[in-house]
């Protein structure tokens, strides 16, 4: 177990720069999730921590020691790959014990470590099998087993659940969370799936275009997104964004409707801003108050309904748990509760 510090880290391939100065302090035992769309640099950052990519500039420290120039094998970290990367010529037990055998660990110790990991992951009956005789979920478990037998300083996960079906992903997600609660090992987890990020993380690092957009607890990112990118990335269905102008303590939409907002501190009268509100926070009013909107599309999810509305041509999504009979082409009235309205300035930064 160890802390990991990342300071002004940069990565470029030739003239193409993919990471622009990343700063991150990861505490001992913390579960950090790097999340962002593909190409945002999250996997590159993880691979640099692992030592699979060279550092162009900046510094990585594991347990206080600079590791920039250390080989992956000398960093004492374990990694779970998206493809699992199991050695096809070795049995499950062989896969899990490989790193210990390389370190010339005593046979009894290896046996105990493999047995311990296997019982934790329910792999005991499979120990003698080859990876090709396993299902996707079992392979995933073996990959995790291979990581935990070593008791490394940190675990790195590179989209470990992406190749599993939805049901299995849910199950493994819970198991990873349980495992972390059990081992309390420093973990860095890369995913593009915001549900995985929200459910697993102690802190989420949201990345975009090689820059860290926001670091914080899952609820912090959900409740107070630092900018338009984080606001749009976290949450499903995604947040609604409406262009507006600030006038007299309210946001005026393009169609002229007024939306009351909690007065932000530093906003000039008449300045343009973006108003954001999550679909689940929009209220469908029954007393006729609020703004009128036409129903364009109804998507029932079973759990609730996603409504695609059109407010004078502005598209707005609403998520409601009410199973109302809403007809296509019908009309509803909606209101935006002020406490749930987010405001962003013209550069996309959060106001207030």
């Amino acid at each position: 177990m160890a802390s990991i510090e990342i300071e002004k880290l940069e990565k470029s391939y030739g003239h193409v720069s993919v990471l622009h100065g990343i700063d991150l302090d990861i505490r001992d035992g913390e579960f950090i999730v790097l999340v962002g769309p593909s190409g945002c640099g999250k996997s590159t950052l993880l691979r640099m921590i692992a030592g699979l990519e060279d550092v162009s500039k900046g510094e990585i420290r594991i347990a206080g020691n600079r590791v920039n120039d250390l080989h992956p094998k000398d960093r004492d970290i374990a990694m779970v790959f998206q493809s699992y990367a199991l050695y096809p010529h070795m049995s499950v037990a062989g896969n899990m014990s490989y790193s210990l055998r390389l370190r010339k660990t005593a046979k009894e110790k290896i046996g105990a470590a493999v047995a311990g990991a296997a019982s934790k992951l329910g792999l005991e009956p499979l120990l003698e099998r080859r990876p090709k005789a396993l299902s996707g979920g079992q392979r995933q478990r073996v990959a995790m087993g291979r990581a935990i037998v070593r008791q490394p300083k940190a675990f790195l996960f590179d989209e470990p659940l992406s190749n599993l079906d939805a049901r299995l992903r849910e199950q493994m997600r819970a198991e990873i969370k349980k495992m972390h609660a059990d081992l309390k090992a420093t973990s860095i987890y890369v995913t593009h799936d915001q549900i995985e990020a929200m459910t697993l993380a102690d802190r989420i690092v949201a990345m975009h275009g090689g820059v860290v957009q926001q670091v914080g607890s899952p609820l912090e990112l959900y409740d107070r997104p630092a900018n338009l990118f984080v606001a749009g990335f976290i949450g499903s269905p995604g947040m609604n964004f409406l262009d507006a102008a600030y006038l007299g303590g309210a946001a005026i939409l393009k169609d002229g409707s007024r939306i009351a907002v909690n007065s932000p501190a530093a906003v000039q009268e008449g300045s343009g801003l973006t108003l954001g509100i999550r679909p689940e926070h929009i209220v469908i009013t029954t007393d006729g108050s609020g703004m009128r909107a036409g129903v364009e599309l109804v998507e029932p999810t079973g759990f609730g309904i996603i409504l695609h509305l059109s407010m004078h041509g502005l598209p707005v999504k609403v998520f409601t748990l009410d199973r109302q009979a809403l007809a296509l082409g019908g009309e509803v009235t909606v209101s935006f509760p002020a406490e749930h309205v987010h405001l962003f300035d013209d550069e996309g930064k959060r106001i207030g």
């Binding site: 992956p72 374990a78 790959f81």
Partner: protein
Amino acid sequence: MTMTADTLGRRHDRRPWLTRLAHASEPYLYSAPSLILIVVVMLVPLVIGISYAFRDIQLLNPFSGGFIGIEHFRTLSEDPAFYGALRNTLWWTGASVLLQFVFGLVLALLLDKPFWGRGLVQALVFLPWAVPSFLAGLNWAWLFNPVIGPIPHWLSGLGLMAQPGNILSDPQYAMWGPIVANVWWGIPFFAITLLAALQAIPRDLYEAASIDGASWSQRFFSITLPFLAPTIAITVLLRTVWISNFADLIVVMTGGGPADRTQIVASYIFTQAFKALDFGYASAIALVLLVLLLVYSMLIILLRQTLLNKD
């Protein structure tokens, strides 16, 4: 069900015999062109060749041609030149295959690493394979010739040779001449096939292994070699059969000399058939070589099966 069976049966009976014949012979007619070709150019010569082994066939002797039973094989079993050729064949095949394989593997590993201009280098490396074998043999014979070739002078300059001489005429080292030429000529085959196999190995296995703590050589032995093993088995088997039959370089470079020191079984067959014009005896030797190679292939296939079953 019974209805259909009935109608089908009756219709079958009613068809005119010509139609029935046509239908019955259809598959044979389709495969006839290739079958006839195979029979005419492969099976017939094979049978005739085998029959030669039991007959006295000498081109210059008009009274030859009679059946002599196993007389040729009796002679063969007491022919010291044949045993010498057999030993030389082992030596020639073993050294050539081993060196071609080792250098081919090294070359494939080097070409697997990305570097500037790799495409061009890859294309150039495979050039020897495109050189006709007799041209390669002539060139190497000249290279080894101290009058026109540089190699003897380099060897004596390095102190490996007392004075620049032609190793092709040195009974002690003559075999190395064709072996070197063969290695140069055959490396691309191994490099090409092993490179293809190398590039099929998933990269993240190497990454996982290096994180697990494996050094370069440990990664090579626990990932690269197991992945290459099937390809290595097949290519080595193929090349062994191929090279033990491959007399071109020897015939061109040394003609089997000096004093039969480079005579392999294949070149001995060539000498017997086309120099001594004794086709009967040559066929007998060829038959023995055929049986030896068949036995070798069977052993390899058995080995492969047991290895596969063990998995």
